[in-house]
Amino acid sequence: MVHKVKLLISILSIFLKAVTFLCLTMYLVRNLMKSFSDQEILQAIRKGQDTEVIDSLYTTILPKIKKHVCNNGGSLDDAYDVFQEAIIVFYKVVITDRFDSEKYNVHGFLHTICKNQWINLIKKRINSQNREKKVEKEEQGATALEDLILTERKTALNQLFNSLGDKCTEILTLFFHQQLSLKEISQKLGNMSEDAVKVKSHRCKKLLTDKIRGNNHLIQLLRNWA
């Protein structure tokens, strides 16, 4: 009997150790290996490694945002909306070199944007509930307009880049999104020499500028978008 109990205890302890090990490994895989440091996130955004960045932010930031939004009367959908908008704002700030990494840390910055977005969303909802019918119509009109303008901008931009051709879009992407050097781009494009890449990128930029120049409607859209 005694040795049976001992055996049982040892089996139990092995199970507990296994469970602890498994949980620890999963925690490490999910939180440590996937999460980047601030500098790594900024670098990855500048290099165009969007999938990795988004994966990392999904694991580290999103759970906190979900908790915050759900604890303050929001739904999971609201949390995702707020998080997505915050990521886009953050990307814009980083791409345009306006993110001061000495002043802010990425997680704190994103968390603050999310909180502000959530407050704005609540305010918007409260306002639309309290307003009179006439004003409500204007509100609906404004929302429809936002959708409309956004869709129009996206369509116009897609048309613009489709008209450039795949090669030009690729070169401009490598130059601007990934900020690669001429050497790196020539390696990525296979047979092209550095000089050829330089000439091609110059032509592509000129082509893009000319296409914008010849389209007043697009100029107007881009000005309002800037």
């Binding site: 049976k4 109990v5 995702y80 990307y91 409309l148 303008i149 869709t151 930029k205 107007q220």
Partner: protein, 364 residues
């Protein structure tokens, strides 16, 4: 104007804020109107490129969100569930087996006198002392040898690590003997290994949302992994096709199924929500308010509301309309003022929720 490559580089540097105020280029920029226009265009080009990238990020976020809302089964979750169940099962097994053995031991340590109560039924209590090898079950196979010292209580010989030596008690022989022998032999059948066991196909889905009320949506399955190529694709598991694109879809929820070369099927997305989008009709409506009016293309069978907005997002005109009502718009604001030339957007929202949108250009 022919701008050379060096000037473009200077423009880029200027836009990045790398040129000082006293730089010759900055001075030239103040005087040269054409150059400043070129700089403005370059700035817009950068805006276009940046926003084109942000559109990609948005797509990525949408896909990620869909995947999170409808997550694929996580095998680790099963392991975590299975472990405690396994643990409880083991504990229960050991508990029941130890209590059985305890009961058996108790019966074996009873004094012989108690056993003699049944001596008229039993010819003779047969006590067998068997020493057994470690971890082996005892089965009665040999003729028992009598080794009794009644009426003293029987003391069991035990070793700490080996299973307890049993003293076999043979009261009536009514117990079923050698149960193992009575178990009929079953024919062993060889079950072929299932090639789909453990195979999980993963894929990435890209969508093209249909315009509201249309069936123009597309789903493209990309980066298929797992299983064995070539793959076949299906919606709802019907009619598999080699092409990974499904076109002509309306806004709905779709089960996306992928089958590999071994016919192993996996539902890569369960109820993938293909949502609709508001579409802008880019067919231009151009008119001159001094010459004619714009005949609004409203559906005569429905009633709704027409809203016209300028490019800066301000509502300039709004009215409701009934069934069979023909509307003509003369390029006037709701307040009656004539609008300036430019591009305007109209939004027609019917009472059934359908929205039609388009673009009107006013020229004079």
């Amino acid at each position: 104007m022919g701008i050379d490559e060096n000037t473009y580089e200077l423009i880029d540097q200027y836009l990045q804020g790398n040129l000082q105020e006293d730089h010759a280029f900055v001075q030239r920029l103040k005087e040269d109107e054409e150059l400043s226009q070129e700089v403005e265009l370059r700035k817009l080009m950068n805006v276009a490129i940046m926003n084109y990238r942000l559109m990609d990020v948005e797509k990525l976020l949408d896909n990620k969100r869909n995947a999170f809302i409808d997550p694929k089964p996580n095998k680790w979750k099963w392991v975590l569930w299975a472990l405690p169940i396994l643990m409880i099962g083991t504990v229960a097994y050991f508990y029941t087996s130890s209590s059985k053995q305890e009961a058996a031991t108790q019966s074996k340590t009873l004094p012989i006198q108690e056993n003699t109560l049944a001596q008229d039924k039993v010819a003779e209590p047969v006590i067998k002392k068997i020493s057994i090898p470690k971890q082996k079950q005892i089965t009665k196979t040999e003729e028992p040898s009598i080794n009794i010292t009644a009426p003293k209580p029987i003391v069991l010989e035990t070793k700490e690590t080996a299973p307890v030596a049993l003293i076999e008690h043979k009261p009536t022989f009514s117990e079923p003997e050698r149960k193992a022998e009575s178990i009929p032999q079953k024919e062993s059948t060889i079950i072929p290994a299932n090639p789909c066991l453990g195979i999980r196909i993963k894929a990435f889905v890209e969508e093209e949302r249909p315009c509201r009320g249309t069936a123009e949506g597309q789903l493209r399955i990309k980066e298929t992994k797992g299983g064995k190529a070539p793959y076949q694709f299906s919606l709802e598991g019907k009619r598999f096709q080699e092409e990974s694109k499904f076109a002509g879809l309306k806004a709905d929820e779709y089960n996306i199924v992928v089958k590999d070369a071994n016919n192993c099927e996996t539902v890569v997305y369960e109820k993938y929500p293909l949502k609709s989008k508001n579409c802008i009709n880019y067919s231009e409506h151009i008119f001159n308010p001094n010459v004619n009016t714009w005949e609004v293309p409203n559906n005569q069978e429905k009633q709704g509301e027409l809203t016209i907005l300028d490019e800066n997002g301000h509502m300039v005109y709004s009215r409701t309309f009934d069934k069979l009502e023909k509307i003509n718009w003369g390029g006037l604001r709701s307040s009656g003022e004539l609008l300036v030339s430019g591009v305007y957007i109209y939004n027609m929202k019917y009472t059934d929720g359908v929205v039609e949108q388009g673009k009107i250009t006013i020229t004079y």
